[in-house]
Assembly symmetry: D2
Homo-oligomer: 499 residues x 4
Amino acid sequence: MSTLHMPPAHPFDTSGLLDLGEDDTLHEECGIFGVVGVQDASTFVALGLHALQHRGQEAGGIVAHDPEQGFNNARRFGYVRDNFTSQKIMETLPGPLSIGHVRYSTSGSKGQTAIRDVQPFFGEFSMGGAAIAHNGNITNANTLRRELIERGSIFQSSSDSECIIHLMARSMGRSIPDRMEEALRKVEGAFSVVAMTRTKLIGVRDPLGVRPLVLGKIGDGWALSSETCALDIIGAEFVREIEPGEMVVINTDGVQSHFPFRRQKPRFCIFEHVYFSRPDSILGGRSVYETREAIGRELAKESPVEADLVCPVPDSGTPAAIGFSLESGIPYAMGIIRNQYMGRTFIEPTEQIRNMGVRLKLNVNRALIKGKRVILVDDSVVRGTTSRKIKEMILDAGAKEVHFRIASPPTAWPCFYGVDTPQREKLLAATMSEDEMREHLAVDSLKFISLDGLYRAVGEAQGRNPTCPQYCDACFSGEYPVKPADMVEQGFQMKPAAE
Amino acid sequence: MSTLHMPPAHPFDTSGLLDLGEDDTLHEECGIFGVVGVQDASTFVALGLHALQHRGQEAGGIVAHDPEQGFNNARRFGYVRDNFTSQKIMETLPGPLSIGHVRYSTSGSKGQTAIRDVQPFFGEFSMGGAAIAHNGNITNANTLRRELIERGSIFQSSSDSECIIHLMARSMGRSIPDRMEEALRKVEGAFSVVAMTRTKLIGVRDPLGVRPLVLGKIGDGWALSSETCALDIIGAEFVREIEPGEMVVINTDGVQSHFPFRRQKPRFCIFEHVYFSRPDSILGGRSVYETREAIGRELAKESPVEADLVCPVPDSGTPAAIGFSLESGIPYAMGIIRNQYMGRTFIEPTEQIRNMGVRLKLNVNRALIKGKRVILVDDSVVRGTTSRKIKEMILDAGAKEVHFRIASPPTAWPCFYGVDTPQREKLLAATMSEDEMREHLAVDSLKFISLDGLYRAVGEAQGRNPTCPQYCDACFSGEYPVKPADMVEQGFQMKPAAE
Amino acid sequence: MSTLHMPPAHPFDTSGLLDLGEDDTLHEECGIFGVVGVQDASTFVALGLHALQHRGQEAGGIVAHDPEQGFNNARRFGYVRDNFTSQKIMETLPGPLSIGHVRYSTSGSKGQTAIRDVQPFFGEFSMGGAAIAHNGNITNANTLRRELIERGSIFQSSSDSECIIHLMARSMGRSIPDRMEEALRKVEGAFSVVAMTRTKLIGVRDPLGVRPLVLGKIGDGWALSSETCALDIIGAEFVREIEPGEMVVINTDGVQSHFPFRRQKPRFCIFEHVYFSRPDSILGGRSVYETREAIGRELAKESPVEADLVCPVPDSGTPAAIGFSLESGIPYAMGIIRNQYMGRTFIEPTEQIRNMGVRLKLNVNRALIKGKRVILVDDSVVRGTTSRKIKEMILDAGAKEVHFRIASPPTAWPCFYGVDTPQREKLLAATMSEDEMREHLAVDSLKFISLDGLYRAVGEAQGRNPTCPQYCDACFSGEYPVKPADMVEQGFQMKPAAE
Amino acid sequence: MSTLHMPPAHPFDTSGLLDLGEDDTLHEECGIFGVVGVQDASTFVALGLHALQHRGQEAGGIVAHDPEQGFNNARRFGYVRDNFTSQKIMETLPGPLSIGHVRYSTSGSKGQTAIRDVQPFFGEFSMGGAAIAHNGNITNANTLRRELIERGSIFQSSSDSECIIHLMARSMGRSIPDRMEEALRKVEGAFSVVAMTRTKLIGVRDPLGVRPLVLGKIGDGWALSSETCALDIIGAEFVREIEPGEMVVINTDGVQSHFPFRRQKPRFCIFEHVYFSRPDSILGGRSVYETREAIGRELAKESPVEADLVCPVPDSGTPAAIGFSLESGIPYAMGIIRNQYMGRTFIEPTEQIRNMGVRLKLNVNRALIKGKRVILVDDSVVRGTTSRKIKEMILDAGAKEVHFRIASPPTAWPCFYGVDTPQREKLLAATMSEDEMREHLAVDSLKFISLDGLYRAVGEAQGRNPTCPQYCDACFSGEYPVKPADMVEQGFQMKPAAE
C-alpha cells in the first residue's frame, strides 16, 4: 500500500506529526492481521498489530463485525498500544471476526497522511459490507484510479489500495470473494491482502508472493498475519505460509483455498530477511534471526578485517554483528547504546531538538570505544546520512579505526512494491561506487555483502540464479519483476534490459 | 439533510455526546454558507456559520480552495466558535473561495453521528473537485442510494445528501454545474444547496423553495447564506433571496442565474417564520421578529384572557409574548429566567444531573410570580414534556393561574423536509384534541393560534388558501407538498387525501 | 478574591485562553457554594455553581469529603457544565460534605491565571484538613503575604485568598473554626467565605456584608450559596441571608451562629442589585428583576424622552428597559439580538475574528430599527467602547435618533472589594462629564440614573443617606468603606475626604 | 525522593495510568539535571532528562529562569520526548538557567501520583525564589513533616522532598545556598539535589554519596546530571563526579565547592552498577557496560554450566550475558526478542490485555531455541514472577534445559534510599533459599553472583570489606548505612546487628 504521488486532490485532516529527519532507513509500509472464530476478535487483532508495529508506526485501524451490532471500526494515528488497548475503545469493536492494519508514515515530502488514508477500507455492496487491509503496492493504481473516476467512482483517500474496493463495487460477481478475485486480477504489483465480510475472513497473496502472509490456528478459530511473531503473541499455532497466488476463504467451517491468478515463479522480497521482518519471525522454516546471523558470518568470510571489537548499529545490525563476531572471533560489544524511550517522531519540535538527529536516539559508549579498532555492522546504507553521523560519534569518542560492514548489497534502486524508499538520486549507492562511498563516509574500510553471499545466507547454496532470480532483489539489482507502470509514466528510468 | 433511518451499515466513529433529554423542540437540521471573491474566504464562512449556529449545533465543516494549495477542509463536532476561530485551524483553509455547513445532531434514538456524516461532502471528478453543502431532506434518498450501490458507488456516510455527489459522479455532464443540475433533477424533496468548484460558487433552491437561501454582496465578492443575519455579521449587503427553483453560478465575473427545474408554485416552510429563523433575519421584506410579534398580537385577539403578567418561555417565545402584551395591555415580564451558560448537551452526565432536565436551563422568578395570574407564551408544543415541567415550576412558585398561549397551530405531523421531528405518535397534538391537551398539561387555559391567524400574521391578509396553500404547513395540516417516498415505503401513513 | 498585582513570582501553567477584547463590563469575580448532610454532596455543589456561573466563568473547583476516602478535589478551567457533570469526574468526589467555587478570569493585562489559583484552597493542619472558598477581596493581602513569607510560609498561588489558609496554619487555635476566626480578624476588605472541615460546613460574611451569602435547607441537610437562584436549582428552601459579620458552623446537628467581629454598619454592594446578581435571585425580600424594573421606571421618570421604541442592550439591560417602557408607555422591542452561541473567550483567534468584537455577539434587527427613534437601555457604562459600537450599529441600520439611558450612575471609581474593574483612568466617567460622554458617544441624548434615584429603586424611599450611606457605592461615589491599603501603597489616589 | 506511605491527606488529581502489572524489577525513582550559562537552557535540560528517562518514566518537570520573565515551569505526566520537545512548550521556558526532574511512578498499591507531586518544587522566599529537584529518599520525612505542619507550614504534595523547601523557608539563613545547607543538615537519608535560584545552579550530594551526581562543562556554561550519558547528549564534557557530602554553587563566574556536612565514609549504591545506570554512563572511570560485562565474566567463573547458547533477558541482562559468553566460550544469541514499541503502562486496558503481561513485551525466538540447552542471564530476581514466565516461554518453545544466571546477589531487603522496592515479604529471596528458589522457578539450575564476586567486578580486587563495606549493598546484605527512621516507626524489622 502506498499513497499516490499525485498532487493532493482531496482535502483532508493531517496528523500533525513531523518526522525528526532521521529518514535514513527503508520502511516497510504495512502490517496486516485478521482473526475469525474467537470471542472479542478485535483484541486479538490489536495484539497481533502490536507485534507487527515494526512494519508501520504511523497509524492503525481495526474493523470488527458482530452479528447484532454489524460492522464497527476505529482508526487512529499513533501506536497500537496507545490506541487499541483500553476497555473503552475495544468494547466498541465487538464480535468474532476482525481485521486490522498498521501503516508507515510517508514523510512530509510526499504530502501528509489523513485519517481517511488509514486502512482497513470499507465498502457497502448490494450483498453486504466488506473491509480490506492491504500490504504492498499497486503499480498501476494511477491508471485504475483515473478510469474509475471517469466512470463515476468517488475516492475518499489518496491511497492506491482504495482502487481494490472500487473495483469490487463495480464487479458483477455474486459474492464478495468472487468480486475480490475479479478486482485483484485487474491489479498489478505486490499485494498481500486480509479482508472480511460479515462471516468470512479472506487472505490473498499476489502471484509473485512479494509480501509475506501466514496462516495460524487459535482454538477453534483462525488467524492471518504478515509474520509469525504476531501469531506467537496471541498464542496461535503457526500452520503454514499462504502460497504466492493463493486465496484462502475462512469461516467457522474451515479454510478453503484456491489459486485464481496465472501461476508465476515466486519472487519473495529478500529485504524481508535483511531488515523488515522481526528476528523472531519464521521465514522458510528458519528464524529471521538465524538468517541474519548467517549474513554476518558470510560477511566476515567475504570481508575480514583485524580489529578489537565488533559493534552493531542498534538494533537492526545486532544479529549480523553477532554472526560476524562468531565467525571472526573478534569480541562482540555494545559500542553504541540506544535510548529506549525514543519514538519515531516529535510533534513540532524546536529547531535545536530537530538538529539533534541521531544523537537523540544513539550514544557512543565512550569509555569502551576509546583507543579501539572498531568494526561497525549495519543492515544497510540508504542515504548514508546516519552512517556518517555514527562514524563521527565513534571517532569523536576516540576510536582508533572504524570499519563498516553492511549486511546487504548496495541499495541502488527504489522499491515500488510496498516499501518507502527515497527517490533514486537520493540513494548513496545509486550515485557512488563502493570506493567513493568509503571516501564519502571517511571510514577506514567499507564493505557490503555480495548479492551471491546474501543469497547463500538466506539458504540458496548456489547463490543467485541470474536468469531467474529466486527472490525480488530489485533494490539491489534494478531488475523489477513487475513493471512499475505508474512510475514509468511519471518519468522513472528503468535499468536497460541489456545491462 | 438527514441521516437514513436504516440500520447503520457503515462502521463509524461517533461523537460521544449525549443529549440531556430535553428534546422537546423541533430542530432545523442545517445552515449553509458560502463566499467567493474575498481574501481568507474561510474566515467569512466561519463567521457566517457562527451566525447560523441556531440552525445546527452538533457539528460544522468548512471547505476552502486556494489556487496553489487546492482544496482543504476541516470538520468538527461542536460549536463554530470553538472549532473555527483559531489562527491554527483557519490558516489550513486558505483561498478566496469557501463553503461551510452546520448540522443539528439527530438524537440517540436514530443512531449516532459520525464525523464522516459532517458536510460539506467532497468529490473528485474527471474535470476537478467539487464540494457541496445541503440544507433540506431528500425524500427518495433510500431508493437512490440502493440504485447507486447496485451500480458500484461506495457510500462513505449515512447521509441522504451524499446521493447528490454520487449522482454527479455518474453524470455525463461536461461541467460541474451541468452535473449538479442533472443530479438535482433526480432528487425529490427539499433542498437548498451551496456548492463550490475550484473557481465557482453555486447556489440552488428546490422548485418549491422550502428552505431559505439568500444572496449577499461583500466588496467585490459574493456570499450565499441560509439567512440574512449571517450576511450582517460579515458586513455583506443583502441583495435578494434565491428564487425557488433557481440555480446561481457565481465567479469573479458575477452571478449567472437560470431555472433548471419544472416550475411549481412555491411552498416556503411557514415554521421558519414561527421558530427556525433568527428574529433579526429578514424574510419577505420584514424582520422575523416583527412577524413573531404580529403572531403574538393575533393570538391575543383570537384568545384573550384576564391576567396580571404575560411571560415568555425563553427565548423563543419572547417576541410573541411582547406582541401579546402590546395587544392585550397586560404587562410583559420575565417570569422565567434562562441560564446563559447552558449548552445543549452533556457528556455522560450523572443520573442525578440527567434527571434535572429543564431546571438546568430555566428557573422561575419566584418573588415575581407569587400570587399572580400568568399568561405563558411559547412558540410551539411538540411532545408537551417541557410545557408540563414549566407549568409545574410556575405553580410551585405560587402562581394563582397559568394560561398557555402557543404561537403556532398544533404540531400534529412530522416534517420530512429537513427538520428533526419526533415520530408522529410522540407528537402531543397527533393524539389529543386541544381540550385533552389542556387537561393533560393541567393548566387553566391552553390556546393555539389558528392556521388562518398564522397566515395573516405572516402577511397573507386573506389567510390560508385551502386549495393551494401559500406555504408548506405539513406539520400542522398533514398536507405534504412532496410525497415522502422513503417514509411511505417504511410504513408512514399519510393523511387520506379526502380528509 | 483577586490575584495580587505583583510581578508573577510563582512559575505556573496558564489556561491559554485569550479574551476577545470585549472587556467593557464589570465582572463579579466569584461565586461560592457549599452543602452538608446530603448524599453525593458534590453533585449539588456542581448544580449550585452552574446556577452561579454568571459570577465567574473562567474556572471552577470542588472539594468533597467522604469519611472513608477523605478529601478529594477537582479544579478545571471552563464552565461547570463542561467539567463537573460527567459520571467519571463526579464519582471522584464522594461524600456528604462539599464546597465549590467559580472564578472570573482576570484579563491578560494582570497576568494569566494558573490552575493553582483556582479555589477552593486546601490546607492540612495538625487537627485535620480544611478547604476554603472566598468571594471578595482582601485589601491588605500584600502586607500579609510579605509577613507570612518572612516567617517561612510557602505560597502556592498568586491569590490573595491563600493568605487566609496560611494565617489559619499559624494560628494557635484548637479547632479549625477557631483558627478561621483568628485568621479572618487579621484580614481587611470584603469577604464571604464558605469553608469545610471533615465534618463541618462553615460560612462567614465580613462585618460590612459587602458580598452576599445565603442559607438554605435541603432535606436534612443545609446549603450556603452566594445567591438564592442556586438554592432553587437544587430544590433547597431559602432560609435567610447570613448576616454581615456572622459566622455559621453547620453539621448534622444544625446551625450554630455567632458574631466574631467588631460590629459595624452594613454596606452591601449596591451593584449586586444593578448588575451582578441574577434577576431571579432574591435580595432584601424582592427579586432582583423587580428592582431592576424599578430602576427603569425611576430612570423614565428622571429622564423622559420622546421615541418610537425602547430597546434593551441584551441581556443585562432587559429588566430596566421593560421598566422604562412600562413607565413611559413607549413600546418595548428587541432591537438588538444576541447570539446565543457566543462564549466569553476564543482560543488564539485570527486577527480578523479578534477585530469583530461585539458583532460576534450582537446584531441589530435592521428591518425593525430603520427610521425609528430608539431609546437604548443599558445597565452601566464602563469604558464606553461597547456603547459606542452599539450606537454605530444602530445608526448604520438606519435609526433616526439614538437615546441612551443607563440604569446606574456614572462608574467613576474602581472596586477593590472583589470586582474586576479597569484602572481608574480607563473608566469613561472618571475623565468626562455626562455632556462630554454624550458627545464622545455621539448620541442624541445620554442620561444616567441619579444616585438617589438608584437608592429609591432599591427600596430606600428617602434616597441615599450622605453621612452614612446604606450601601457600598464606592464605584459611583469614590467613598470606600474600607481603605484599600495595598492599592494605596501601590499609588492609588483616593478621593480627598473633603470632597 | 519518594511519596509518604501515609493515608493521602491531600486531595489531588491523579494521572489515570495503570501499570500493567509487570512490576517485577526495581525502579530508580528519579533523574535530575541542571544547566547554567547557555541560551535556551531548558532545551538542554529537556535533552538531558530524555537521556535520563530510564531513571523515571512517569512524569517530568522543568523550571527555567529568565531575567525578564522570571521563573516559569512546566510539569507533565509521560515521557520527556512527548512533553518537552515542542516549540510551543519550550518557548514558555526561556532563560539561561534551568533544572529538571524525571520521576518513576510508584505503583497503584501505594496510592496514585498527582501532578503536584511532580518536581522540581518551587518556593518563594523573602530573598527570592528557588526551585529544587531531588533524587534519593529522606528517611526522617514523616517526622519532619509532622513538626513543620505543627509550626504552620502548608504542604502541597505528598512527597518527602517537599520538606526541604519548607525547612529552607523557615531557615534564618541570609542566602538561598545558606538556607539549603541548613535544611539539608536536618535531613536524613540519601539525596542528590540539583537546585536553582535566579542566578545560581546548586548541586549537593549527601555525605554517603548514595545517589550519583556529576559535573559537566558546556561552552561557557555548566551542567549537573545524575549520569554522564546525559552530558553526552548535549555535547557537554564530563568534568568530574560531585563528591559525597559536597555542595557546589555555580554561576557564570564558575564553580564554588564546599563540604557542609560531617564527613563520613562513602557508600555509593552498588545497584547503580548492576542495573540503574545506563550502560554508556561512566562510574569510577569505567563504563557501566564494562562493569556489567565483568559481572558476567565473574558469574561464568563462579557458576559455569555446559550449554548451547547464552541468552540475555533483554535488555538489562545483555552486557552480563555477553561477558558470560566471552568467559565461557558458549555462543551468545538473542533467544528472547523485545518488542520495541512497548511502553511501560497502558491506560485502562481490557482484562485480556492486562493478563498478557510479559508476552506483550517479550517473545521467544522459537526456531532458534528449540532443542537447545539455554543459559539465561538476568540482572536480578525481585518477586520472581517474570523469571517464571520467561522460563515457561522458553520451555514452551522447546528448549532442552534452562539455566538461570543472575548478575546480582539475592535481593532480600528493601531499599529506603530512593529505589522503589516491594515490601520485604514480596521479595523472593527474603523468604526462600537459593535452592528453594530454583525449585520454585523449576529451572535446571539457578545461580546468583556472590557478594564478593560483585565487589570484584566493580573493581574491588579484595572483594567486600565486611567491617566497613565500600558500597551501600543493603538490598543484598540488610546492612543499612542510615537508619530508616520513618520505616522503623511504621514497623519495619531491621536485621539484628549481631547477624
